[in-house]
C-alpha cells in the first residue's frame, strides 16, 4: 500500500513535469520558427545567457526563489541583452555576430560572478539557483507549470494576433515599412516573444541548452513543409513531443537530467528530418536524382536508337 502511494506520487511528479515540458516545447518550438526564419538563431543563445545575471539580481533584491520573480529578472536581463546587441549594431560598425558574442559572454560572465558571490555569502536559501545554468526539469512544481502555461499562452496568443504583421516583417521588412507598419515596434514585439519563450524554459532546460529548444524544432519542421502556418504547428508539436519523451526517459533512468534528454530527443528528430523528409530530405533527393538520371539516359538512348532505325 505504501509502495502504491509512492508510485502514485512519482507519477504525479512525472505528469506535472511532462505537462510543463510539453508546454515549454510547444511555445519555444512555435516561436523558434520566427527566430530561425529571421536568421536569428543565435539571438536565442545570447538572450538565454544574458538572462543569467537577471536571475541572480532578482534573487539578491528579493531574497526569494519564487519562480515568477526569477523569471521576471531573467526576462529583463535577457531583453536588455538583445537591446544592447541591436544598439551596438545600429550605432557602431561592429557586425551582428561580433556584437552577439560580446553581449553573450559579458552578460553570462557577469551572471556567473553574481552566482558565485551568492554562494559564497552562504545564504541558506541560495541552493537551486545553479539549476538555471543546466536546467532541472524534475524539480518543476505545479505552480511553475502554471507560470509557464500562462506566460507561454500569452506569447502564443500575441503571435497569432500579429500573425500577418510578423510574417511580413520577416519576409520583406522594406515592403512592410513602405506600407506603414512600424518595423521597430514589430521587432520589439518579436524579440519580447522570444524572450518570454526563453525565460520560461530556463529553470527546466538551463541557459546553456535553451537556444536548442528554440532552434532545433523549427529546423526540423522546415524540412516537412513549405507553409509558415504548418511549420509553426509542426515545430510546436516536435517541441512538445520531445519534451514529454525526454521527461519520461529521464524519469525511468534516474541519473539522466531532463533538459539534456529533451534536447537529445529533438536532435534525433532533426537528424531524421534532414535525411528522410520528402522534399528537402537528403535521402529522397538522392533517390530522385538517380531515378531522373536513369530516365533521361533511357530517353536519350531511345532517341539515338530511333534515329538509327530511321
Amino acid at each position: 500500500m505504501e509502495y502504491l502511494s509512492l508510485l502514485l506520487q512519482n507519477h504525479y511528479t512525472l505528469i506535472i513535469v511532462s505537462i510543463g515540458a510539453a508546454l515549454l516545447g510547444t511555445v519555444s518550438g512555435a516561436l523558434g520558427t520566427y527566430a530561425v526564419l529571421r536568421r536569428q538563431s543565435l539571438l536565442g543563445d545570447a538572450i538565454s545567457h544574458a538572462a543569467l545575471p537577471g536571475i541572480a539580481i532578482a534573487f539578491m533584491l528579493t531574497g526569494t526563489k519564487t519562480h515568477l520573480i526569477l523569471i521576471i529578472g531573467a526576462a529583463i536581463a535577457g531583453w536588455l541583452g538583445s537591446l544592447v546587441i541591436l544598439s551596438i549594431v545600429r550605432l557602431t560598425r561592429i557586425k551582428y555576430d561580433s556584437a552577439l558574442a560580446l553581449v553573450l559572454s559579458t552578460f553570462f560572465g557577469f551572471g556567473l560572478v553574481l552566482h558565485t558571490f551568492i554562494q559564497r555569502t552562504g545564504n541558506a536559501n541560495q541552493a537551486g539557483l545553479d539549476k538555471f545554468l543546466f536546467g532541472q526539469a524534475a524539480t518543476m512544481l505545479k505552480s511553475d507549470v502554471l507560470t509557464i502555461g500562462i506566460l507561454g499562452g500569452v506569447a502564443l496568443v500575441l503571435m497569432l494576433i500579429f500573425w500577418k504583421e510578423l510574417k511580413l516583417l520577416i519576409f520583406d521588412e522594406g515592403f512592410a515599412a513602405s506600407i506603414g507598419f512600424p518595423i521597430r515596434s514589430l521587432d520589439f514585439l518579436l524579440t519580447s516573444l522570444l524572450v518570454i519563450a526563453i525565460v520560461i524554459g530556463l529553470q527546466a532546460v538551463g541557459a546553456v541548452l535553451m537556444s536548442a529548444m528554440l532552434v532545433a524544432p523549427a529546423v526540423a519542421a522546415r524540412q516537412w513543409t513549405n507553409r509558415l502556418s504548418l511549420m509553426v504547428i509542426i515545430a510546436a508539436a516536435i517541441g512538445a513531443f520531445s519534451g514529454v519523451i525526454g521527461t519520461i526517459i529521464s524519469s525511468v533512468t534516474t541519473r539522466i537530467p531532463t533538459g539534456p534528454t529533451i534536447i537529445l530527443c529533438t536532435t534525433v528528430i532533426v537528424g531524421f528530418s534532414i535525411v528522410f523528409a520528402p522534399n528537402r530530405g537528403l535521402l529522397l533527393n538522392r533517390i530522385r536524382q538517380k531515378k531522373n538520371r536513369r530516365i533521361f539516359k533511357l530517353a536519350t538512348q531511345k532517341t539515338v536508337l530511333g534515329e538509327r532505325i530511321q
Binding site: L37, W163, L168, F171, D172, F175, I179
Partner: protein, 247 residues
C-alpha cells in the same frame, strides 16, 4: 487627393549619407503625374537610395519629399513599391498567392487577415502578369523572372497612384521584359505615375517618356527627348559610354 496637382513626386534639396560621405547630394526632382520615368545611373549612383528616401525607408540628412503635395506618411495608401528582388529570402515558407496578397496588408491594416476579396484581387493581378498557373507554387521554386512578376503583381493589388520600382527588369528575358513594359505603359495610360530604376540605356527611349540621370547628384531630369542626350549621359557615366552610338 488633388488630381490636378502638377507634381506627383516632389523632392527638394535631398541629401542622404549612410556614413560620412553623402550618397545623394542636394537632389531636386519633380515628377509630373502620369509619366513613366526611368531613373538611370551607374552602380552605386544612389538609385535605390533615392527610391528608399522617397518611401521614407532611409532617413535623409537634409531635404524633403512630397507625394501629391503631402508627406509620404500621409500618402502611403497611394504609393506602390516593388523592391529589388534580391532583398528578400526566397526560401521563406510561403507560396505565390500568399506573397501577392501581401500587397493588401497596408489597406487591411492591423490584425485583419486577407480573405476572399484579397484572394480574388491577387488572382486578377497574377493573370495580368501571366502567373496564374503558379499561384500555389512555393516561392523558392520560381525563376528570377517569375519572382519579379510576383513582386509586380503584389504592387498591382496595392492599387496605387504612384509606383516606385527598383530594377523590375533585372534577370528577366526579352519576352517577359516586353510584357512588363506593356503593363507599365498600361498603368501610365490609366493616369498612374510609374518610377522605374533602369539599367539598360539602349531601351530608355523606347520604354519611357521621362528620365532622370543620377550619379550622387541629379545630372538631369525631364522628358526623354530633351534629357537623354549624350552630353548628359557622359556627365552621368563619365567617359564609359562608348557603346552608345550617335546619340
Amino acid at each position: 487627393m488633388d488630381t490636378k496637382a502638377t507634381k506627383a513626386i516632389e523632392v527638394t534639396d535631398l541629401t542622404v549619407a549612410y556614413q560620412e560621405t553623402p550618397v545623394l547630394w542636394d537632389i531636386d526632382l519633380d515628377v509630373p503625374p502620369g509619366v513613366l520615368l526611368a531613373i538611370v545611373g551607374p552602380n552605386g549612383a544612389g538609385k535605390t537610395t533615392l527610391i528608399k528616401a522617397i518611401l521614407g525607408l532611409v532617413r535623409p540628412a537634409a531635404g524633403n519629399v512630397l507625394i501629391y503635395n503631402k508627406p509620404y506618411a500621409a500618402q502611403r495608401r497611394i504609393v506602390g513599391y516593388v523592391p529589388q528582388r534580391g532583398t528578400v529570402d526566397w526560401d521563406f515558407p510561403t507560396n505565390v498567392l500568399d506573397v501577392v496578397m501581401m500587397g493588401r496588408y497596408g489597406a487591411l491594416g492591423w490584425i485583419r487577415r486577407p480573405g476572399t476579396k484579397e484572394r480574388e484581387l491577387a488572382m486578377l493581378a497574377l493573370q495580368k502578369v501571366g502567373m496564374e498557373d503558379y499561384k500555389t507554387r512555393q516561392i523558392s521554386q520560381l525563376s528570377s523572372g517569375q519572382q519579379q512578376r510576383v513582386f509586380l503583381a503584389r504592387a498591382l493589388i496595392q492599387d496605387a497612384t504612384v509606383y516606385l520600382m527598383d530594377e523590375p527588369f533585372q534577370g528577366v528575358d526579352a519576352t517577359t521584359e516586353r510584357a512588363i513594359v506593356t503593363l507599365l505603359q498600361e498603368l501610365r495610360e490609366n493616369g498612374k505615375t510609374v518610377v522605374v530604376v533602369h539599367h539598360d540605356l539602349q531601351t530608355v527611349t523606347d520604354y519611357f517618356d521621362w528620365v532622370t540621370l543620377l550619379n550622387i547628384r541629379r545630372i538631369a531630369s525631364g522628358p526623354v527627348d530633351d534629357t537623354f542626350t549624350s552630353d548628359n549621359l557622359r556627365e552621368t557615366y563619365g567617359g564609359r559610354i562608348a557603346f552608345m552610338k550617335n546619340r
